[in-house]
Amino acid sequence: MNLNGVNFRWSLIWENRAILLKGLATAIQVSITSLVISLVIGLILALARMSSKRAVAIIASSYVSVFRGIPALVSVIWVYFGWSLLFGHNFTVYQAGVIALTLLYSAFFCEIYRAALMAVAKGQREAGLALGMTRIRIFVSIIMPQATKIAIPNIGSMYIGMVKDTSTFAVIGLVEVVRVTQNLNSVNFQPFVLYTAAAVLYVVLAFIVDFIFRAIEKNLSTPPSGRLSNVLTRRRRERIEALINKTG
């Protein structure tokens, strides 16, 4: 293809598909690891923020205020270069990426969980207490399942943000999509073609992530409407059927 005398070599994308996809795989790996860790830390932060102990609540909310505002690029440079300057210990680029993302997104997940936990009706906890359940059991079996369902769509969009933020880790040399694209471009001088490929990869991944989270949401709805939950709850439904027949 030739436009304004520029020659676009679209075939480059196909020729380099393996390395581009490997970059995408790295982005997914770093972001999923960070997702899992920051979901756990975010939940702990949310509980701390809602704690009746003022000091605990203030520490958690300060953390959120600070880290919510830091860009991923700044965070990763700080973790990768700053840490080694300060403590003489080097993280691998992979570790630095995971730590940088986790620091930031724990703050976001804290807020998402907090909103979701507060959205669960007060009567739910009271019913659990009146039934003689312990606070921990109420949290695990009654509050969390309902809060998770509320939080899922927001977690999904946050995760798409996490994937995109991995692109800034090119700066520390993590061989993710953008770094691969930069490398290919320095040899081929085809920025338009190569960055279009990168953009398409991100968009397609975001599309898939959205699809997956929608499916999760559907399966968590009550009554569940997804295919997965149909399979997962079939035995329980059969058991209830049997009970109805036996008792009735």
Binding site: A121, A130, L131, M133, T247
Partner: protein, 260 residues
């Protein structure tokens, strides 16, 4: 428990509230409530909105922690104790709630669980019982409120009346000694009130001790062995079966006249 065997007679005291005070912020909404409920007795509590009926009921199972006052159930004291009263060993809320079932105005079923699981989960959580036994018990409780065919349904698929019946079955599955009802039919469409009252009537006939906050005056007349009229955080008047017709308390009569 040998000492309590004499308490098993029918007019033994099951629940005793003494000097229950409760404030929200600086406002005191219960100004020292006393109440004695005998085994098998059906107590009706009524009074205008904001008079402290719910707060009183919720103090019984310590969903509201009173500022002072004692709650005595089956011989054990719970709560902070009466102001200036003797120091006795007090039971934990978790233990108290084993004996007390509660039904809420808003049903408070767990929306993410089926009717059957709504009953089986608390059973599993509060006693050592297998999943199979818990579900078997849940099924038989559902059957006794006529909802066995709805065992697999989720709360969102049930009518308000059905949800409240599940909530009653859920509380009963834990073998409470006393059942508290906080306006159990107030959130229901008029045509659904009857089915819930029918379940409660049946329960009353089995001899269950009940404390019911309600505006259903006909139902109150029907089951109320002890009728308690509250206003502004005080028990203003109380009386037996003839209370609704023969109470000498002017405020109570006015109120009864206004709801009927």
């Amino acid at each position: 428990m040998a000492m309590q065997s004499s308490d098993e007679s029918n007019d033994s005291v099951l629940l005793e509230l003494k000097g229950v005070h409760k404030s929200f912020g600086t406002r005191e909404v219960l100004h020292g409530v006393d109440l004695v409920v005998k085994k098998g007795e059906h107590v009706v509590i009524f009074g205008p909105s904001g008079s402290g009926k719910s707060t009183m009921l919720r103090s019984i199972n310590l969903l509201e922690e009173p500022d002072s006052g004692s709650i005595k159930i089956l011989g054990t004291e719970y709560g902070p104790g009466v102001k200036g009263g003797p120091q006795v060993k007090r039971g934990k809320p978790l233990e108290l709630r084993r004996y007390v079932g509660m039904v809420f105005q808003q049903f408070n079923l767990f929306p993410h669980l089926s009717a059957l699981q709504n009953i089986a989960l608390p059973l599993r959580a509060t006693r050592k019982i297998s999943l199979h036994d818990a579900e078997k018990r849940a099924a038989s409780e559902l059957e006794s409120v006529g909802l066995l065919p709805w065992a697999a349904s989720f709360p969102s698929q049930l009518s308000g009346g059905q949800q409240q019946r599940v909530a009653i079955a859920r509380a009963l599955s834990l073998d409470p000694k006393i059942m508290l009802f906080d306006e159990p039919t107030s959130a229901l469409a008029p045509e659904l009130v009857g089915e819930v009252l029918a379940v409660m009537r049946k329960l009353a006939q089995t001899g269950m001790t009940m404390v019911v906050v309600t505006h259903e005056m006909n139902f109150a007349r029907e089951i109320g062995d002890l009728n308690v009229f509250m206003e502004d955080g005080y028990v203003v008047a109380r009386g037996g079966r003839d209370f609704f017709d023969n109470s000498t308390n002017e405020r109570a009569q006015q109120f009864i006249g206004s709801v009927l």
